[in-house]
Every structure is written in structure tokens, then in C-alpha cells.
């Protein structure tokens, strides 16, 4: 984050050249891989864009009509997941970095990292076998008592396999990613900043507000973007848990939930053939573009606010 110190010119030794070369190759490979993915997606998508929309599943009037609800579902589920995961993750990260006694903090850190290593199919099984049935009574209550509120419009799902359940599972999966990154960033807060705040009479919470959070803001945004990337692209959980439908709906507790792009590909690919495969790959291209746009926007936000972040 700080400006790089100007290093005096050292004579280049072979080891330096080899190392410099290998880092360039490493950097190049990631760009090449990304380019290869983009080329593959575009090339395989073209037949879907020019195909007769009647050949697409559900016979929509155009490809956009087919992909619209999927894009909505993808963003909606990821947004709900982040809405739950972000405050919780910040809380856990701050607890570990600034509140917990050292042994507790270390143990908790390990456990959080362990959570990130659980494969998503296990989260999916948990979601469908445990979480969804457990939530049914709560959903019934919400719909019975708050049914007038657009998010809880009846009818209620009898299985709990709703977008809210999916978002909760996604949140659990995203929390370790955001938490461990934020924790690392918060621990980097210059001790002088913190001590200065405390010396001015700030309480610990005020110190966090004026010193830790502003310093960590770019890190928080980056962590959130990584978490969002996982939530947007998560396939297995959505494919297993969600009761999908071809709709755009904000209802959290119903049976007709908007499907996500990744979940839709997973569910339909095994029996797709002909142009159906191209259509699914084309939805993958759309997901690629959506992710790219969201990441660029986030990066722009971070860059614009860097001057005021207190990091310099």
C-alpha cells in the first residue's frame, strides 16, 4: 500500500535474471489462462447467440430472455449471502485481531481457516438435509405473520429449499474467506495510529472506528470481492439445495426461486446436446462478464477512496 522504497541499482547476477524471468512467466501464465478461458467462452457461445431461440430450453423469445432471470438469480443470491456474511465476518475479524485474548484468537483463527477447507458438496448436503428442513417452521411463521411484506409473499415452500436457505449456506462458505483476509489486514494497522487514538482518549471501539477500519477499508473491499466471487460462482450448493424456476422474484420463502447461472449449468449440462451446450456455455460467458464488471467497479471504488483511507 505504501510507496516502494527506491532501491540502489545492484549488478544483475544469473540468479536474479532467472528469478525475474520466472516471475514474468508466472504472471504471463495467469493472463494467458484468463485469455484462453475468455476465447473458449466466446467461441463456444457464438452458436447460441445466432441460434433460433425456440431451440433454447423453455422456448424463450430470445437468448436474453433466457439468461435474464439467471443473471438476476445469481446476483440476488450472492447479494443476500454478502449481506449476512459481511457484518459477521468483520465482527469475527475484529474480535480475533483486537478483542480476543491471544490463545483464543489463535484457536479461532485456525477454526475459521478450517471452515474454508470444507468442500462445497458437503455444505450442499448439510443445506439440503439439515438446514432446509430446520428452517421450514420459521418460513411458515414468516409467511403467516409477515405475508403482506413483498419478501415473504405466500405460498410458503414446504421443503425450505428457498433462495434464503441457499444464501445462508453461501454466507457460511464466504465467511471464512472474508474473515481471514480482514483479520490479516486489521493486524497490519500501524500500532502508532492505534496508540495515538487511544492517547487522545478514544475507547477501544472509537479507536477501531478512527484507526483500524479506515486503514483496512481497501482490504475489506478486496476481501468482500473475493467472497463475492465465490458466492457468484458457487455451483454445487445451489444445484443441490435450490428449488429453481424460470422467474425474476424477490420472494425469499417461496417454491419458485430464481436460478443462478452456475446452478443452471450444473443441472442442465448432463443432458444437454447440440446447441443446448452452447447456450449453457454462453450463460457462462455472461457470468464471466458480470464478475468482471463487479470486480472492476469494486477496484474503481477502492482506488478512488485510497487517498482518504488513512493508509498513507
Amino acid at each position: 500500500m505504501t510507496t516502494r522504497p527506491a532501491s540502489p541499482k545492484a549488478p544483475l547476477r544469473p540468479a536474479d535474471r532467472i528469478f525475474a524471468g520466472s516471475t514474468i512467466i508466472a504472471g504471463g501464465i495467469i493472463l494467458a489462462a484468463l485469455a484462453a478461458v475468455a476465447i473458449f467462452l466466446v467461441a463456444q457461445s457464438i452458436p447460441a447467440f445466432v441460434a433460433d431461440p425456440a431451440e433454447i430450453k423453455g422456448s424463450p423469445s430470445s437468448f436474453l430472455e433466457y439468461v435474464g432471470p439467471l443473471v438476476f438469480g445469481t446476483i440476488w443470491a450472492a447479494f443476500l449471502a454478502l449481506l449476512m456474511a459481511l457484518p459477521l465476518s468483520l465482527g469475527i475479524a475484529l474480535f480475533i485481531s483486537h478483542y480476543a485474548p491471544r490463545p483464543v484468537a489463535q484457536g479461532l483463527g485456525y477454526i475459521i481457516d478450517l471452515l474454508a477447507a470444507v468442500p462445497s458438496v458437503v455444505f450442499g448436503l448439510w443445506g439440503i438435509k439439515v438446514l432446509a428442513p430446520t428452517l421450514v417452521p420459521s418460513y411458515n411463521w414468516l409467511v403467516d405473520n409477515l405475508g403482506w411484506f413483498p419478501l415473504f409473499t405466500p405460498p410458503v415452500s414446504g421443503t425450505g429449499r428457498t433462495v434464503l436457505t441457499v444464501a445462508i449456506v453461501l454466507a457460511v462458505m464466504v465467511i471464512p474467506i472474508i474473515t481471514s483476509l480482514c483479520r490479516e489486514v486489521f493486524l497490519q494497522t500501524p500500532v502508532l495510529h492505534q496508540e495515538a487514538a487511544l492517547a487522545l482518549g478514544a475507547t477501544r471501539w472509537e479507536m477501531i472506528q478512527v484507526a483500524v477500519l479506515p486503514f483496512g477499508r481497501p482490504g475489506i473491499v478486496s476481501a468482500t470481492m473475493l467472497g463475492l466471487g465465490r458466492a457468484l460462482g458457487e455451483t454445487m450448493v445451489v444445484a443441490m439445495v435450490l428449488s429453481p424456476a424460470d422467474v425474476i422474484s424477490f420472494v425469499l420463502t417461496g417454491s419458485q426461486n430464481p436460478q443462478t447461472i452456475a446452478g443452471n449449468i450444473a443441472n442442465n449440462f448432463p443432458e444437454a446436446h447440440g446447441v443446448g451446450v452452447n447456450v449453457l456455455i454462453a450463460t457462462g460467458l455472461i457470468l464471466f462478464v458480470v464478475t468482471l464488471i463487479i470486480n472492476s467497479v469494486a477496484r474503481a471504488v477502492v482506488n478512488r477512496r485510497r487517498a482518504f483511507s488513512g493508509a498513507n
Binding site: K57, A132, P155, G158, S243, N268, P270, E271
Partner: protein, 357 residues
């Protein structure tokens, strides 16, 4: 001393093995000396039956290799027409326009073979506390899945089940979210028997935007099992411990059974494309004979009557003959829970398959 004892045991075991294998030789799959490689693709409903057939056939014919890709009926037919695979498994009969186009793997103008090999009754499964038997007619079933009947104590359901204590709870109707032959047969039944309510034609995707979707047979069974006040449809063999509704046929209520499913297929009229080599049937959904269970899925094998490669032809003949035989049907029933063909239908199929070259 120990050695001799072992020797005796060994000798007995050996003798037993020889005895058993000589017995088993009478019931092996195929001649035992079939060889070559066969590639098939299509219906995923047939998938687990095909696995059992392949395993038994390859065990009996160690030089033969059978591959089957359960990529879906439409994909299977497409690949068979293009000559990419030697045979296709399909939950729906070949369409007239598909037949008219010819088949790349067959000798020009020789025609094709289409025989039913896999019959599976579709069960209406439900999970409602305190209800362990349920009678439904097609109109009510259509109303439930179309979303016009939304409560378990709806007068239409109560009228059919005067003795049941039905809760005043919302119905969650679970359907397949992926394209499926099961959905196609289920919607075909509703469309034929209750056209006033179910106005959508039979199709692989579920036609209405109501109810809850679940992926695959296991997804539907899981959703119905784990949910409350749920109802769904799935292959009867996969229903597990769930309670199964009886559907109205004539003036009786009939639960799914292997006999009822096989009988309705055997006694249905011939399909639109039927011929000497095409045994496709137009399933009689509106039957009023209570020994029939008309909510059934039938899956075919499509093959050439004469293959360009005669070796492939003789292998297909041997493999499909085994599938349609009593042993093949029993193997599928054991592995996939399907309903064996009636012996008359099996004989008809074997006669047709015998002409494959």
C-alpha cells in the same frame, strides 16, 4: 494333518465351483463367445438397467465391451441417427421425421428396429403427517400440480379420501427441474386423462411455473422426504419408504405395481410409427381396466435392422436379445426395480431382434 484338511476343503470348494458354474452356464447372458465393442447412448432412465445388462453381458462374454452413455433420450437418438453410436436408448419413440431422414450406421434403405425393453411405473409419492394412504384421480392430481388445488383439505381431495384426516396445510408439489422422460410420461398421463385441467402437451420440461423444482429422481425423493406436506412423482423403484398414492383407473384406485405397468404396455395399441420391426406403443393412459397402471414410463432401444458392419450387427443382436430375455428383464428388475416385460411381449421383441443383421 492341517494340510490334508485344507486339501479336502479346497477340493470340495473346487467341485462346488465347477458344479455351480456348469449350472449357471444355462442362464448366462448371451452365447459366451460374443466379441467386439458396442457403443450406445440415450435415456438416463435406462441408465441403471443398462449398467446391470452391461455387467452381466460382459461377464458372460469376456471378449465383448458394451458402453452406454446416459446422456438423455434426445441426445441418444440424435447420435444414433448420425451414426455416432450403434444403438440408442430412448424414452420416446422415434419421430416420423427422424425416421424419414435415415440412419448413418445402417445399410441404406434397410430400416430400423425399435423395441420396448424397459418399463417403470411412476409413483405419486407424498409426505403428509398422519396420512398413510391417499386416493387421487387424474383431475385432482392435475389440479395439485398445476397449483389450482393448494390445500390438503381441499373438497376435491376430501371427496376421494373420506376416511383420511387431511390437514389444512398448503400443498408443496415437487416436480423435476431438469428435462426428464419421467416428467414427459407424467404430463402425458395428466394431459390425456384430465385435458380440461392439464392443457399443456406432454414434454420433457415441467410446463407450468408453479410448485417446487428438484434435480433428478433422487432430488425429488429427497425434497418430498425432507419437506412437510409435500407431493411429487418418481420412478416407483426409487420411492423408498415414502407413502405412495393410488390413482383412479376405471372406478378402482390402483397403486403402482410391476404387473400393472407391464400389462398396460403389453395391451396398449401400436404407436403411430409401428411396423413389423417397430414395436412402439401408444400407451393407453385412459384405460379403465383396474389391472392396468397407466402412469408408466416405457423406454425403447433403437437399432439398425442391417448394420453396415456385420460384426456390430451380430453383437447388437446378441446384446438386445439378452436384454429382452427373461434373464435380462429379471436382472434389470433386480438392479433398477423396473417391471419385466410380459412373456408375450418379450417373445415379440425377441422375434424382431432376431432379424438384426
Amino acid at each position: 494333518m492341517n494340510l490334508t484338511r485344507f486339501g479336502t476343503v479346497g477340493a470340495i470348494a473346487m467341485a462346488g465351483a465347477i458344479l455351480l458354474s456348469s449350472c449357471a452356464a444355462n442362464e448366462t447372458a448371451g452365447s459366451g463367445n460374443a466379441s467386439g465393442t458396442l457403443n450406445g447412448a440415450g435415456s438416463s432412465a435406462q441408465g441403471s438397467a443398462q449398467e446391470a445388462w452391461r455387467a452381466a453381458f460382459q461377464t458372460a462374454n469376456s471378449k465383448a465391451t458394451i458402453n452406454y452413455d446416459p446422456s438423455g433420450s434426445g441426445a441418444g437418438r440424435e447420435q444414433f441417427i448420425a451414426g455416432g453410436v450403434d444403438f440408442a436408448g430412448s424414452d420416446s419413440a422415434l419421430k416420423p421425421e427422424e425416421i424419414a431422414g435415415g440412419f448413418a450406421g445402417c445399410v441404406d434403405g434397410s430400416g430400423y428396429v425399435q423395441v420396448p425393453v424397459y418399463i417403470s411405473p411412476i409413483a405419486v409419492i407424498f409426505n403428509v403427517k398422519g396420512v398413510d394412504a391417499l386416493n387421487l384421480d387424474a383431475t385432482t392430481l392435475a389440479g395439485i400440480f398445476k397449483g389450482t388445488i393448494t390445500k390438503w383439505d381441499d373438497p376435491a381431495i376430501v371427496a376421494l379420501n373420506p376416511d383420511a384426516t387431511l390437514p389444512s396445510a398448503s400443498i408443496t408439489a415437487v416436480h423435476r427441474s431438469d428435462d426428464s422422460g419421467t416428467t414427459k410420461n407424467f404430463t402425458d398421463y395428466l394431459n390425456k386423462v384430465a385435458p380440461a385441467v392439464w392443457d399443456a402437451p406432454a414434454a420433457d420440461p415441467f410446463p407450468y411455473k408453479v410448485g417446487e423444482g428438484a434435480n433428478g429422481t433422487s432430488g425429488v425423493v429427497d425434497a418430498v422426504t425432507n419437506g412437510t406436506n409435500t407431493i411429487g412423482y418418481a420412478d416407483a423403484s426409487k420411492a423408498g419408504s415414502l407413502t405412495i398414492a393410488a390413482i383412479k383407473v376405471g372406478d378402482k384406485f390402483v397403486a403402482p405395481s410391476a404387473e400393472g405397468a407391464a400389462k398396460v404396455v403389453a395391451e396398449s395399441p401400436a404407436g403411430a410409427t409401428a411396423s413389423d420391426a417397430d414395436l412402439s406403443v401408444a400407451l393407453d393412459r385412459t384405460t379403465t381396466d383396474p389391472s392396468h397402471y397407466p402412469l408408466v414410463l416405457v423406454s425403447y432401444i433403437d437399432a439398425c435392422l442391417e448394420y453396415k458392419d456385420a460384426k456390430v450387427g451380430s453383437l447388437v443382436k446378441e446384446y438386445v436379445s439378452y436384454i429382452a430375455s427373461e434373464k435380462g428383464q429379471a436382472d434389470a428388475a433386480a438392479a433398477a426395480g423396473s417391471s419385466p416385460l410380459t412373456s408375450e411381449l418379450s417373445a415379440k421383441v425377441l422375434a424382431v431382434v432376431g432379424n438384426i443383421k
